[in-house]
């Protein structure tokens, strides 16, 4: 290779044509994938404003193809004209919605509490439990991740009946906590590892107890990580269907179960289905857009060193 003088603008040496081609390609691909991601969401939202004819004729663009109508939302009791009237569907929907909120927030919170404590202990102290050491205990927690729900589902169905937890929100909260605990421990271990140990040393020398140091010094620093773990856990719990479908019947049904059971006798009412689906995905979509930074932080914990 011939000796050249090179500087940091090597990339701009290429011909303008090649540069423009690569730009066009990059933006083309970006826009294409953005379309792939957004179109189903657009379809869901617009369908909730369509009437039967517009759905079956595949109309796409509101005001051009079809006149939007509150039909889907009215059937849920959530349109402007029906929101102040009594509606059994709305009551049902709100009940399911609250079930989803309570189970996912409850499970995420419980998992964050016990998961953070365990992660902190595993990072800072050496344990020996019979012949299990820290690495074994960590592995025990993280290995729960590969446990498929179907393995636990049937035993839990039987056990929950015995302890009267079938079709209760507490029962779901416990299972969801178990489901997200490995992920929380994974994220929080990474978080606590990044906190310098000197901070706690100083606190301990100043006379704080171990737990005092944890709550007053470590917790505030690790808070962003906790938020990240909480959001990721929320997403998983909110969308969970398998356990909810098997273990709930009337009282504790969550939104995904309600969505899945929307087949009427005359086929599917797409407008109300779409309205329901929109309502089911909206909370997480909003959280995802608003707190995207934390979500990414949670997903990348421990993968990049």
């Amino acid at each position: 290779m011939s000796v050249q003088t090179t500087d940091y603008t090597v990339s701009e040496i290429r011909s303008p044509a090649a540069f423009i081609t690569s730009r066009v390609f990059i933006y083309g691909a970006l826009v294409f994938w953005a379309f792939v991601c957004l179109f189903p969401i657009y379809w869901t939202i617009t369908t909730s404003f369509k009437s039967a004819v517009d759905v079956t004729q595949g109309h796409l663009i509101p005001f051009v193809d079809f006149t939007p109508d509150w039909k889907g939302w009215r059937s849920l009791g959530l349109s402007p004209d029906s929101i102040f009237q009594t509606s059994t569907v709305r009551d049902e929907f709100l009940k399911r919605f609250m079930n989803s909120v309570i189970t996912s927030v409850g499970a995420s919170a419980l998992a964050i509490i016990i998961g953070s404590l365990a992660a902190y202990g595993l990072v800072r102290y050496r344990y020996k439990f019979a012949w299990f050491r820290n690495e074994d205990i960590s592995f025990f927690f993280l290995s729960q991740l590969i446990l498929p729900p179907v393995v636990l589902a049937l035993p839990f169905l039987v056990l929950y009946r015995e302890v009267a937890l079938l079709d209760t929100r507490i029962g779901l909260v416990l299972l969801y906590t178990l489901m997200v605990l490995p992920i929380v421990i994974w994220i929080m271990r990474d978080q606590f590892n990044s906190i310098p140990v000197e901070l706690e040393e100083a606190a301990l020398v100043d006379g704080l107890s171990i737990w005092g140091a944890f709550f007053r010094i470590v917790m505030p620093i690790a808070l962003p990580g906790m938020v990240a773990a909480f959001i990721l856990a929320m997403v998983l719990c909110w969308n969970e269907y398998f356990f909810a479908a098997l273990l709930t019947s009337t009282d504790a049904k969550t939104i995904p179960v309600m969505v899945a059971s929307q087949t009427g006798s005359q086929g599917i009412n797409w407008w109300s289905m779409a309205a329901l689906a929109t309502a089911a995905i909206a909370p997480l979509a909003i959280i995802g857009i608003a707190l995207e930074r934390y979500l990414i932080m949670g997903m990348t914990a421990g993968s990049v060193k």
């Binding site: 595949g58 365990a118 498929p148 269907y241 398998f242």
Partner: protein
Amino acid sequence: MQRFSVRNCVKKKREEARSVAEQTSTANAWPANPADLIPQGRKRLGWSLLAVASLALLAIIVVQILYKTEMSTVGFDTWRPVIYAYILWGAALGAWQVLTRGEDGQRALFLLPALLFTIAMVIFPTLFGFYIALTDWNLSSFAGRRFNGLDNFWQMLADPYYRNALFNMVLYVLAVLVEYVIAFGLALLLNAQISARKFFRVVFLLPLMLSPVAVSWMVGKSLMEYRFGPAATLARHLGWDNPAFFSDPITARISIMMLDAWTFIPFMMIMLLAGLQAMSREVLEAARVDGATAWQTFWQVTFPLMLPVSVTAVILRIIFKLKLADIIITLTSGGPGGATDSVSSFIYREYRDRSNVGYGTMLAMAYLIIIVVFVTWLLKVASRFVRNVN
């Protein structure tokens, strides 16, 4: 018995502080070895607390067993008091640790809640599951459960649908490689010098947030609907005369894979993007200075450097893929003819449609063993692979 040993710099530092304190005053000094200097009375209190709690837990279990087997008339209707007793026992265990072992006990307290919770929620149900797997329990039969040894196991070996579901899982897991390629491409795009990067990142992330059930209804059943779905219309325009996405086995499988990929590609994409952003600029700059083309830079610098992250992302994705169920349950119920069944959805229907708890549990337990072996093997191979390349 538990014994926790502490080897930590925190500890060392603190012991220095302690020895200073001990020299100045003995009454209020921090003990050098906490276990030695805890008053006997406190230790005794701890032990008796644990003994009482353990006895109470045992007593409740025994009373319940006697009541449920109709050997006594005293007892509770459900087993729920046993749970309360377990929680109280856990609290007593924690108190015992703190009372008898002082600061070491306080350290154990960090780990205890998660440990007790996981053990109660996993170990016991799994063992119970292995027992159910050996019974002929069908909820719709009046006979109740009867131990029938390995009958379920032999039935499983002869079950073509289960084998088919396992085979489908192999296909679904292989589809992860395609997802990986797409996710890597997207991560590279997001890592390029583009404007509105944050906007694209948020948009690309959105599918991950959506409930798979809502997605399978609105995308699978509506968007890909044969008559009016825009996807079918598009397919007709592109020259596919008969765009039925779920009617023949191969197309149906591919449709399921595509839907699942759509929701989970962002997950891998974000991990890979983080890997790309953590890569040092100097290496890439050096490659460019040496005159490497973009293609060479990618294959000989970026890709090898990204291997560890890639392996983590792919393995995590495979673990999630092995749980695949909701999309199939809501969209095809395994059809046509079991072609799209995953193991989870197959077992789900085995229970829901045929109430076959015993047999379904045997299938689930066999699946558990298969994937534990598979994932262990995968982790071994992956770590060796990463070591060899780097």
